[in-house]
Amino acid sequence: MPGPDEQLVYARWLDWGTRIGLGVLAAAFFAYAFALVEPAIPLQELAAVWSLPLERYLAITGAPTGWGWLVSIRKGESLCLLGIALLALVTVMCYLRNGISALGSGERLQAGIALVQVVVLLLAASGVLTGGH
């Protein structure tokens, strides 16, 4: 199980990952909101669709699902989603680092928990799990 050293390493990875993710999100949103980059959905039209149920919103706007936003990475919304995705990947990286470290030091139970958690998070991130109204 992780001792103080592992906890400090985890904290360091978490700190840097979060800084990068939040920095990218803030910069991307600034560019998006102030029309420095082109939006996929014109901002004037956004208010007409953000009150719709998800399925109708997707049907009307053609907004991407899964990792489809990577295709339109130059659009404002996709740049923001890049920042959001980075934030949602920070924990995966921290757990991966922790699991590998535990494996190296023979902490099998700790490594197992960390690596199963990585699999769960990657499964969630993969877009394989879907549902809908």
């Binding site: 199980m1 992780p2 906890q7 400090l8 985890y10 904290a11 978490l14 700190d15 990952g17 979060t18 993710g21 939040l22 999100l25 803030a26 991307a28 949103f29 998006y32 909101a33 901002l43 956004l46 208010a47 007409a48 953000w50 719709l52 149920p53 998800l54 919103y57 907004a63 991407p64 699902t65 899964g66 404002g76 923001c80 989603l81 920042g83 959001i84 995705a85 934030l87 949602a88 920070v90 924990t91 995966v92 757990y95 139970l109 700790q110 928990i113 960390a114 199963v116 958690q117 769960v120 998070l121 969630a124 991130a125 993969s126 877009g127 799990l129 879907t130 549902g131 809908g132 109204h133």
Partner: protein, 286 residues
């Protein structure tokens, strides 16, 4: 204000202002922002509940990620305590997110209202135990090495801690995960009583470990919302920026603010927002 008549940029601005205020209040009351954000924004803003829940999760996630390094470095959160329970919570939060996106919105709205009102009642009557007594640790907690020494910076004392009722805690965190994923709530309001009152973890360590654990549980549910396209940057980004800036002010006010009064204010906010969500879900007040 008529939602359709207002220029689009009004709503992100109002959202920023409201989340800035929520950030202050959340820190002072010791709750995560998500539990206030989802019912308030879902009830009083024009955004659809699907997007509000996705934003609520990302809001709670960002706050947990930002707080995590400090909590871990300061020994206020325990990685070995959090990891096994976070694994269960993150699996069930995926199920909760899928369920929330599959159910009719009126059902989710009604269930959200009931849950928020229950949280308000829980906060009103919640007991706390600074240093709970654990006479004999259970086998599972011992096997998972859920024990340690917590240094309380306030008293300067080292407190040895261990846990009991670990199997029951796993079941509780499975349920908490479902609620977090389904409603986009951070669920710190539920984590802390489970750590503190059920497992016997010192209160401060419970609060800190709960804050860290959210970063794991909310990540898995957040991915479901991201992949389903239920994340609107125009809703998420101003909210995250607003609540984080507000939280910074909240931390500064922590020493001088009347904590009991702020806590009562949060309970009132939850009662109003919970009632609004319930009535909206039942079609009584749209």
């Amino acid at each position: 204000m008529e939602a359709a008549a207002a220029p689009w940029w009004i709503w992100p601005l109002v959202l920023f202002a409201v989340t800035f205020g929520l950030g202050i209040v959340a820190v002072l009351a010791g709750v995560g922002g998500g539990v206030l954000f989802v019912p308030i924004v879902g009830g009083f803003f024009p955004f659809h509940l699907d997007f509000v829940r996705g934003a609520g999760l990302l809001l709670a996630l960002s706050g947990a990620l930002a707080a995590g390094p400090g909590l871990l470095r300061g020994g206020l959160a325990s990685l070995r305590l959090a990891m096994p329970l976070a694994l269960v919570g993150s699996i069930t939060s995926i199920g909760g997110a899928l369920l929330g996106l599959a159910l009719p919105v009126a059902t989710v709205q009604t269930a959200l209202g009931v849950t928020i009102l229950a949280i308000a009642a829980l906060m009103w009557g919640a007991r706390k135990s600074e240093h709970p007594e654990v006479a004999s640790p259970d086998a599972l907690g011992t096997a998972l090495r859920m024990h340690g020494v917590f240094h309380d910076p306030a008293s300067g004392k080292d407190i040895e801690w261990k846990v009991h009722r670990t199997p029951a805690a796993f079941v509780a965190f499975a349920g908490i995960g479902v609620l977090a994923g389904m409603f986009g709530l951070g669920a710190g309001w539920a984590n802390v009583p489970v750590f503190n009152l059920m497992m016997g973890v010192p209160l401060k360590l419970s609060v800190g470990t709960s804050g860290f654990l959210l970063s794991v549980v909310d990540t898995s549910a957040a991915w479901i919302y991201i992949n389903r396209g239920a994340v609107l940057p125009m809703l998420v980004a101003p909210s995250i920026i607003g609540i984080m800036l507000g939280a910074r002010i909240g931390v500064r006010l922590l020493r001088v603010a009347p904590a009991a009064m702020v806590r009562r204010l949060v309970i009132i906010l939850l009662l109003v927002a919970g009632t609004r969500a319930l009535l909206k879900g039942l079609g009584v007040w749209n």
